[in-house]
Symmetry: C2
Subunit: 325 residues, 2 copies
């Protein structure tokens, strides 16, 4: 592990000259700079990040925090974030687990992008109070060191609701997300608004938690109570897949007896048969926007909270109710 001292000794110059040479300062002759660089290369010199970070008071690393690594959900999102950051010379690291929260307050990263329920909002506000920069994608937080980029949940849920109402559905199950989840709450709120405008609708809420197994459970419950066509709005695709999978084991037909619509348009959604109706949005763009917001926050540029637009994807999993005369 060579350091600038070693190089200085070998080159017969002082460490500051080495530092200047390696950082391309014009304060040093082209010849000595070349000589120093040659020696550095030969010694396989790599600057020590800890020392440099300590001096510069920044790491040029941004952390993205996820509740977990599973689910095909995050691929494009992370890709988007990475693109945004790399362009500006920042590196991206992805973290998941309570103990890695420390990376932010300990200043191992210059900022954080949060999509992680294991952070409490109090915790985030405290970090923000200490001057740490944060972008949240999964909650609503007002602080000068926090920016937010949200999905347009209200629009998405409303699109889904209007679609199924248009298809004639009047009996509706809604499988909710984790209690306390921002996205879940916003979606439920929009659902209730739409239901409120359609007084002839029967509305049944099933508590879920965004996981596939919650979907399976919901599927069981719905099957047991089955008494004619019903629409099921799962607040994410993962749970819709759970229901789908469960219904395959019964003789209830999806898109005929039970009608399904999800949210997120995850990859598997297109492989189900019939195709899962769902709400789509650009996960990549969501990520790009989040990274941009964080970089602006770090640079001290003020920004407005932003929204990601959503669209309806129709699928045979959500069919029309036959009109009964």
């Amino acid at each position: 592990m060579a350091n600038i001292k070693d190089i200085a000794k070998l080159a017969g110059v002082s460490i500051s000259t080495v530092s200047y040479a390696l950082n391309g300062s014009s304060k040093v002759t082209a010849v000595t700079a070349a000589r120093i660089k040659a020696i550095a290369k030969e010694l396989h010199y790599v600057p020590n990040a800890a020392a440099r970070n300590l001096k510069r008071q920044e790491t040029k690393i941004i952390g993205v925090f996820l509740t977990n690594f599973s689910g095909s959900f995050y691929g494009d999102l992370l890709q988007g974030i990475k693109e945004g950051l790399n362009q500006s010379g920042y590196d991206l690291i992805v973290c998941s687990s309570k103990q890695s929260h420390r990376l932010l307050p300990q200043r191992m990263i210059d900022g954080a992008i949060i999509l992680d329920e294991t952070f409490s909002s109090e915790e985030l506000l405290e970090y923000a109070n200490q001057g740490h920069k944060v972008v949240v994608m999964d909650r609503d937080l007002d602080h000068k060191n926090i920016n937010q980029v949200h999905l347009d949940n209200k629009a998405g849920a409303t699109l889904a609701m209007e679609h199924l109402i248009e298809l004639g559905h009047r009996k509706l199950y809604v499988v909710t997300g984790t209690i306390g989840s921002f996205d879940s709450r916003q979606r439920i709120q929009a659902v209730k608004q739409t239901v409120g405008r359609n007084p002839d609708m029967q509305y049944i809420e099933i508590a879920g938690d965004f996981t596939k197994s919650a979907g399976v459970l919901a599927g069981k419950q719905i099957t047991q109570e089955y008494s004619g066509p019903a629409a099921v709005f799962c607040l994410n695709d993962e749970m819709a897949i759970g229901i789908y999978e469960y219904l395959l084991t019964t003789n209830i037909r999806i898109g005929v007896d039970i009608h399904l619509i999800g949210f997120d348009n995850i990859e598997v959604a297109q492989y189900t048969q019939p195709r899962l109706a769902t709400i789509d949005y650009s996960k990549r763009k969501w990520g790009v926007l989040a990274s941009e917001q964080l970089l602006k926050l770090i640079a001290g540029i003020e920004v407005e909270p932003e929204h990601i637009y959503v669209t309806l994807i129709k699928g045979k999993s959500m069919g029309a109710v036959p009109i009964i005369n």
Copy 2:
């Protein structure tokens, strides 16, 4: 951003006393320690990682490097790695991109787990030569600072081959992975061995790259050449899904006309209809093992390279060839 100096000033003690107190040394009275801790908490003191890393010459962070973030492939694997590491007080960060390679030589991480084709083996060997600790999961590298944990590719490919031969198949397509991929090469080798033992087999290789779109292309080619039942062994599930998806748009029936088997048992494999036959293994265990190997490497404990065992998962995508008399 309070530091120990601030605390020392407020507590009326020296910085070394503060350091001892905060690190729970017995060299300091319980009362002063308590007083110092109280002040630290009040100031929201958090030790600066850069300074600590610089002094300690370690970061207690391990980096996992992936070629990309997409694909539902990595969830369980990362979960396994994380569990292994967290137990030993290490944090996990996940990286992807050429520029983040720097984290290893710059000593921002104490070691790396590689599942990333963007690292050349030469690059890894150079890091190893500099004393950096690495575990590789995607290649074969012999160095005292590198450990390896591989899938039993040979066994997996052989299982797949024996299965399809047993079902009567004599015409075989193999869709390969990325050229130069260790897993792909090992699997092809096993395939060729089995083919060699069955001289009546017709063997056609289609170059792929482990992506779904490569599968779609392969599907097209196979369809064009179609002249009776054939088995297709895709060297990963992702490509098998590509073929599956393409065949759905044709009137060729999977498991009847074209018989498919993949490798990995990714999540979507169970949603295809008919179910995709594939080779399964515990991705979580693979991760746990990799983290254990890395920690041992760091601790200076010698270990043997390890293998992950694989099993065959049958599926209706791979049916029997009707016996023609």
